[in-house]
């Protein structure tokens, strides 16, 4: 076999029905880059429309990209693609996890794993370099993820990386995750492994990833990249004034400062001033524990952790001894929604008890919730589960839909008074599929149908549903108006897109961001000031297309879209400009395949158009505008100001859109992609131009090409 660079060149295929384990060639998919892009192609070719996510015919693809294992900064992500159980059309979608799994898989010699079929009994997949076997999972089936990882680790050794499901996945809950490491969860696809009787994948690799360039060339580019990197989400200014900083932002995740410590480290570690030029302190910049858990968390923080090849440590690793009261070990790790979301079930909050420090009880509850969700392997539908509990509780739905005995057995008093112990009871019932309550994990679309939620569930901003397809906001209209709004419209789940958000929230003054926007997307009108939006522009459409394509590019390379792209930098001497050509520079050095920025963006566009075609095929309609890309009502309804009066759209103070303007926006984005401007569906001409003639042919045969 010829030498491949960046790619290992091999895809591992595992058929659980037959037990057959085989090898496929990665490079036959190279037009789709890696990870998510290649998985889209595999799903198109191999999983017919109408397949149920939990059917043996469905496949699930664990994908790395050419950057995993090379040391390119922030390249530790694993992309997981399959049919999405919580989507009403079971459309293809991806989930992602950080950690070390993808890098270990590359070291074992594999670019991807494609799992198909269904095992007749619970198994786990053991990968040690080229030695691959299905192992009996009877001892770990029924256990939480922490125990599962410990038991597999005891057999494979501590250097093995494990991705596993908990009881939620085993029980085929729509809202379940696949988790690796202590805190890296890919939400949405856990139930697929459960349906396949595949409890976990353990991988250990002793190889390496070959790089086409001379090591010093890659090191030089790494060094350059490190000069441009900011803090988590590529925030490039600090939260608090620092001697070196021209700008600050109260929203910045660059939270390090003098006098702020990882207080539970031994000895405590001061995060300090973290000058942008100091590469040794990059890992201290993002002190997320005090953001997610509040200032009280300072003395409980052991350190900040993160993923392979990532200098940004965004996962808080804390020791909260109070968790022992709930029978939990005191060590917890997570970040962002991993803390907020399980805690969101506590709809009345968790007031501090007498003698507690301010915020202590909510820190405990967030730690407890994270621990429970991570062990059971529960997904939150990007924070929606708490809002679903709120809706059902507020409207008396629990009392209506739960059998009387079940209703009476639930400790509602704990929920009312804010006792975190409610979470222990709640997640046990839901993950273990007890009674009727577990249907809260069906996901919004199915739940609303089953429990007969009212129209206000969708139309009231409070519940934050973005689409009647059942997913919520995720950097949507509040993220540069139509830019974020339209990005969310193209998704089959919460948008998981940070290409735009990292730029918008970098922390720089709006005038500077507009200047950079003009350089990147042709006009200062590509973005607006937060809460001060103007009507749709062509430049915004370009920004939308770029953001959608770059996100898919990152999930294919794989890079963390919670850091990339490097549109801005913390460097005054560069006028805070980043470098959006870095991905292509790295790709060329790593793989030896010369690609310009435009080449890679075109590859990403190809993969995104294929994703669009997959959605068309799953929904059985070419009219994406009408049937897929619409928002819920609150998005296009004026909001009330403090005085109770409507704030007119496109005046300062609101981020609401209008239906007419959103339709203009859809048309402009369709045009940018070269799709049919009426329906938003890929045309034969565009598909063929992207090398997707087979896709055009199949859509045509099904009557799904636009007229």
């Amino acid at each position: 076999m010829s030498v491949t660079y960046g790619y290992t060149g091999k895809i591992l295929r595992v058929n659980l029905t037959t037990g057959k384990i085989s090898t496929d060639d990665t490079l036959k998919y190279k037009d789709f880059i890696g990870g998510e892009g290649m998985a889209m192609k595999i799903m198109w070719d191999e999983v017919p429309a109408g397949t149920h996510p939990f059917a043996p015919e469905n496949k699930i693809v664990f994908g790395t990209g050419p950057f995993c294992g090379t040391g390119v900064p922030c390249s530790g992500r694993t992309n997981i693609t399959s049919l999405l159980p919580s989507n009403p059309f079971h459309a293809v979608s991806s989930s992602h996890m950080g950690g070390y799994f993808s890098v270990e898989l590359k070291y074992a010699g594999w670019d991807m794993i494609v799992v198909e079929g269904k095992s007749p009994k619970p198994v786990w997949l053991r990968i040690e370099d080229g030695k691959v076997a299905l192992e009996d999972a009877r001892w770990i089936w029924g256990k939480g993820i922490f125990d599962t990882m410990a038991m597999i680790g005891s057999q494979m050794g501590k250097e093995a990386q494990v991705a596993a499901i908990g009881q939620a996945g085993e029980n085929q809950l729509n809202l379940s995750v696949i988790r690796t490491g202590a805190s890296h969860s890919a939400g949405g696809h856990g139930g697929i492994l459960g349906a396949k009787n595949l409890k976990a994948i353990g991988v250990k690799g002793t190889g390496s990833v070959k790089i086409a360039a001379k090591p010093e060339e890659l090191m030089a580019l790494d060094k350059y990249m490190m000069s441009l990197i900011g803090a988590n989400n590529q925030h490039v200014v600090p939260k608090n004034p620092q001697p070196w900083a021209e700008y600050t932002s109260p929203s910045s995740r660059w939270t390090a400062k003098k006098g702020l410590y990882w207080g539970a480290a031994n000895p405590p570690v001061e995060t300090g001033e973290c000058y942008p030029e100091d590469m040794q302190s990059v890992g201290l910049r993002t002190y997320k524990a005090v953001v997610d858990l509040g200032p009280v968390a300072e003395k409980y923080t052991v350190r900040m952790g993160g993923c392979a090849h990532c200098p940004i440590r965004c996962h808080s690793q804390v020791k909260i001894p109070q968790l022992e009261r709930y029978g939990m070990d005191p060590y917890v790790a997570n970040t962002c929604m991993g803390f907020y979301s399980p805690f969101g079930v506590m709809i009345n909050g968790t007031p501090d008890l007498p003698g507690q420090e301010p915020g202590e009880q909510s820190m405990i509850a967030k730690g407890l919730g994270a621990k429970l969700a991570d062990d059971y392997g529960m997904w939150c539908n990007y924070g929606q589960i708490g809002r679903d509990v709120l809706y059902a509780h507020k409207h008396g739905i629990f009392k209506k839909v739960l059998p009387a005995e079940e209703y009476a057995s639930i400790p509602w008093d704990m929920l009312e008074k804010g006792d975190p112990a409610f979470l222990v009871d709640f997640y046990d019932r839901v993950a273990n599929k007890k009674g009727e309550l577990w249907h809260i994990a069906d996901g919004s679309y199915y739940l609303a149908k089953r429990w007969n939620f009212g129209e206000d569930y969708w139309s009231d901003y409070k519940y934050k549903l973005w689409s009647k397809l059942g997913f919520p906001v995720h950097h949507s209209n509040e993220a540069s108006g139509q830019v974020g709004a339209l990005i969310s419209c193209f998704s089959n789940r919460d948008a998981q897109n940070h290409s735009h958000m990292n730029f918008i929230a970098a922390g720089l003054p709006i005038d500077m961001l507009k200047d950079i926007a003009a350089e990147e997307w042709g006009s200062r009108d590509a973005i607006d000031d937060v809460k001060n939006y103007k009507p749709m522009t062509a430049a915004k459409a370009k920004f939308v297309k770029w953001s959608l394509s770059r996100s898919l590019l990152h999930n294919s390379l794989t890079l963390c879209n919670w850091m990339w792209p490097m549109t801005t930098s913390p460097l005054k001497e560069r006028k805070y400009r980043g470098d959006t050509g870095l991905e292509a520079q790295f790709y060329t050095l790593v793989t030896g395949i010369p690609k310009s920025k435009e080449d890679l963006d075109l590859d990403a566009e190809r993969a995104f158009t294929l994703f669009r075609a997959l959605t068309v095929r799953a929904m059985g309609t070419a009219d994406m505008r009408k049937n897929h890309d619409q928002t819920t009502e609150w998005v296009v309804t004026a909001e009330k100001g403090k005085d109770g009066k409507d704030i007119a759209q496109f005046t300062p103070g609101t981020d609401r859109m209008t239906q007419d303007d959103m339709e203009i926006g859809r048309t402009m984005v369709y045009k940018e992609f070269g799709w049919d401007e009426k329906t938003g569906s890929p045309t034969r001409a565009r598909l063929e131009a992207l090398g997707l003639s087979d896709v055009a042919q199949e859509l045509s045969s099904k009557g799904l090409l636009p007229a």
Binding site: N240, P241, Q242, P243, W244, A245, E246, Y247, S249, P250, S251, K257, K258, G259, D292, C336, M337, Y340, G383, K464, V473, H474, H475, S476, E478, P509, I510, D529, V530, K531, N532, G641, K642, I647, T651, P652, G653, T654, D655
Partner: protein, 175 residues
Amino acid sequence: MAEETGPLAALMEKIRADSAEIRLTPASCLVPLAPDAESAAAAIEAGADADIKMMRGSAERYYFSDRSMTEAYAKHLYRLAERDPVRLIADTTRDESKTYPRPTPVAAFLESPFSMTQPEIDAAIAAMASIQEYADIRTTSASNGALYLYSATHLGAAHADGLAEWIEVGQKENP
């Protein structure tokens, strides 16, 4: 270029050394290196290197080197040195309303480099309300009760309301 020596070099060295320690150099502190503050100021004005910057206070000149701190940070130190908490809060708020633009969380003044106490902040904001010079400084609050300040010269009320709610509440629900 030959390295500069003599009184001016000493003055610049002192200013740079102070800036490296993240503090301003009041002109009065240059007196040991010059006959008086005025002659120090004249020497610096006449021939100091470009990194040496001056800010004129109500009764004092302050110097810093922008090799060690930005003008933005030096402004904070200058306002602290002037010991006028009302002006400090108002001018900081005006800067942020103009530059970004955004309202300023009152809680920011609890933190470094301001490190004010809550009673000090409350007193300053109360005093501001009765001084015409600060009539542009307005307050708004987010739904969680957090108080923000903004300058009406640079930011409209509805925009400030919306931004405060987003910074304080919205983005935490959509991280």
